[in-house]
Symmetry: C2
Subunit: 407 residues, 2 copies
């Protein structure tokens, strides 16, 4: 066996028989290159959504375990169909479900984490010359119960398999050409990046870039698996996510992420004493509401305003939970608004070079955009702004940081 490649194809790449046959030809080409090939497939097109609708026809509250069993069938179907499509091209292929592929998970239904992979079956099939098609997004618990991995599940399956099999590369094929300096639908001058570091990709993904799920990027970083993100619809070169950062890129903003899904809650007049923040956020955490940004400004009076953001879908739930708590800690009021979004500039070079924040704030100011909240990491600066200004902000920042010119 020469090189081993793990490829992943998303739902839109296998949405119908014609696309599936097209993908089969791409897989066959990799095999023709003499590579061992393991392929991870998502469910066809809208299959997952259709299955969820079906569940809701029989019950208002589908059981988590049962819903996972139901949803797992989508990827099983596409994996067998892909194996058949390869067979019709004369290639020897075999589909494996999550459990047949040895993908073990914890038992957190609908958002299980991969705990271990037993690669024996895959290796046996590879050694017998077969192309192995693995149903993505799923695994099995110690109790032999089927789980699904939640968002980004098939990307995660692919990266985890690449790590377990010590593959030479991991290729994520999707419906876009790679990772761009900003969303090209908003910024037409956005440029495709030829490469990007794990941590940069992680920041972009967490803050709104949808091309790849953060957990798969994290896993790639953990095992140092280079990940190619490219289109399944053409042969453009794509973007490689890897560990190194080239010299030329060290002082650059690499990309700008944006996210429209920001709702903000502000507690007014919160007494600034230990334990208040914990008592506010614990009930939200228990209810599974993710808090994104938190900003607190304590004045001299010992009274603070505390703001935080959640996704818009979670706002109503968060408000129901936070109301009584806010009262009990003595806050004088609670406000909320769904009218927010955020823009984030990301680049490894930012940690060593000053001036990025100032330039970002000035660009937004020049574009007449007010900044509501600011958060930073070592390689990222995020501004929460009015939702209807997000696209303007993206274009202004893209221009200001000259992202349209070569890397």
């Amino acid at each position: 066996m020469g090189q081993l490649v793990v490829q992943k194809y998303g739902g839109s790449s296998v949405a119908n028989a014609a696309r599936m046959k097209n993908v089969a030809r791409r897989i066959a080409a990799a095999r023709d290159d003499g590579k061992g090939v393991v392929v991870v497939v998502s469910a066809m097109g809208d299959t997952t959504e259709d299955l969820i609708l079906l569940a809701h026809q029989v019950t208002d509250h589908p059981d988590d375990r049962e819903l996972d069993v139901l949803l797992s069938t989508g990827e099983v179907m596409s994996s067998t169909l892909m194996a058949m499509a390869l067979g019709s091209l004369g290639y020897d292929a075999i589909s494996l479900t999550g459990y047949q592929a040895g993908i073990k998970t914890d038992s957190r239904y609908s958002r299980a984490r991969i705990t271990d992979i037993d690669p024996q079956r895959i290796e046996r099939e590879l050694n017998s010359g077969k192309i192995v098609i693995v149903a993505g997004f799923q695994g099995i618990t110690e109790e032999m119960d089927i789980t699904t991995l939640g968002r980004g599940g098939s990307d995660t399956t692919a990266v985890a398999l690449a790590a377990s099999l010590k593959a030479d590369s991991c290729e994520i094929y999707t419906d876009v050409d790679g990772v761009f300096s900003a969303d090209p639908r908003v910024v037409p001058e956005a440029r495709k990046l030829s490469d990007i570091s794990y941590e940069e990709m992680l920041e972009l993904a967490v803050h709104g870039a949808r091309v790849m799920h953060p957990r798969a990027v994290e896993l790639g970083e953990l095992y140092q698996i280079p990940i190619l993100v490219a289109s399944s619809f053409n042969n453009h070169p794509g973007t490689v996510i890897h560990g190194g950062v080239t010299m030329e890129n060290r002082n650059k903003v690499r990309g700008i992420a944006h996210d429209m899904d920001v709702a903000k809650i502000t507690l007014v007049g919160v007494p600034d004493r230990p334990g208040v923040a914990a008592s506010l956020f614990e009930p939200l955490a228990e209810a599974g509401v993710s808090i994104d940004t938190i900003v607190q400004n304590a004045g001299l009076s010992g009274i603070a305003d505390l703001s935080f953001t959640v996704s818009k879908n979670d706002l109503d739930k968060a408000m129901r939970l936070i109301g009584p708590v806010a009262e009990s800690v003595g806050a004088t009021g609670v406000h909320s608004s769904k009218e927010f979004g955020k823009v984030s500039i990301v680049g490894s070079g930012m940690q060593t070079a000053p001036g990025y924040a100032a330039r970002m704030f000035k660009s937004l100011h020049d574009a007449g955009i007010n900044i509501e909240m600011i958060t930073t990491s070592e390689i990222r600066i995020t501004c929460i702004i009015q939702e209807d200004k997000v696209k303007d902000a993206l274009r202004a920042l893209h221009k200001s940081f000259k992202l349209e010119t070569g890397e």
Copy 2:
């Protein structure tokens, strides 16, 4: 745990969400009676056919193993949906796939046989008070490959589980009210039988009655599992298939089966010497063509005419195979026709009482129906007749044997 019942619901009984909820209420009623309940479900409505069409969109010749994986998803889907529907009624239910339910098979894809059942998981779930919903029609090989059981697969799953779990009863729910003295769509006076013996049911099923597949009946007989066949759409009492034959029924024809799917091949002038029949039928057996009836009339000359029947779908294949062989054994001609059907009278009492054959032949003669071929078993007489006379024959025989009057 009190009584344990295994119920099976066919595809039309779970064809959509409304029917599924209706079935869930029936299952819940059995649970309310204090019974332990294991349910086997088929795929919803036309799911299996739809999946086969999908496979044929990607390849003209789907691989057997892959097609089994694909088809198995249909029953997995309906099992999880049924568990959800029960959950929404407030009942604790869990779905199990074939392999989770411990159903082991050989590796003959698309027509696997159950080799063993490991009931541990089902028993654990039953003991914890759960209703267990098993995906029918499927199992897993020693190599952990998914198989499907072929025709009658879900019925077979149910009967096998009833045997393995030592269930008190096995109930097959379908879209008809039970086993009838003849097909009520052809004979309006046909009467539902309150009970029937395994061997009678087997003969009826083999010779055209579609209410239950012969292999499930055979399995029921082997393990002496009483099987109730009833409708999932009403509460009519149904038919019990069991081992005993009541005194009153010993001298009766119990039912008449018919089958339109008969093609006949006749070899003219076959030399009547040992080994000729074997050399004719071996190539057909190897090609998977089932021979039904064989009739040979050897004359004094040492030359015989040999006729046999196959299903109409197999006729072209059979003719291609039989042509060269017929020539090589010295037959002077081969004729074939698709214009045949058959009627069979079945009843345990026939083996001890004479006169049934004579009465059958006279009834057909009186109705102006010519008999082409005759075969018999101890409890059955079958006549091959012209296809367009089958319905007339059914009605004539039903009347002649007074099947419309009580048992």
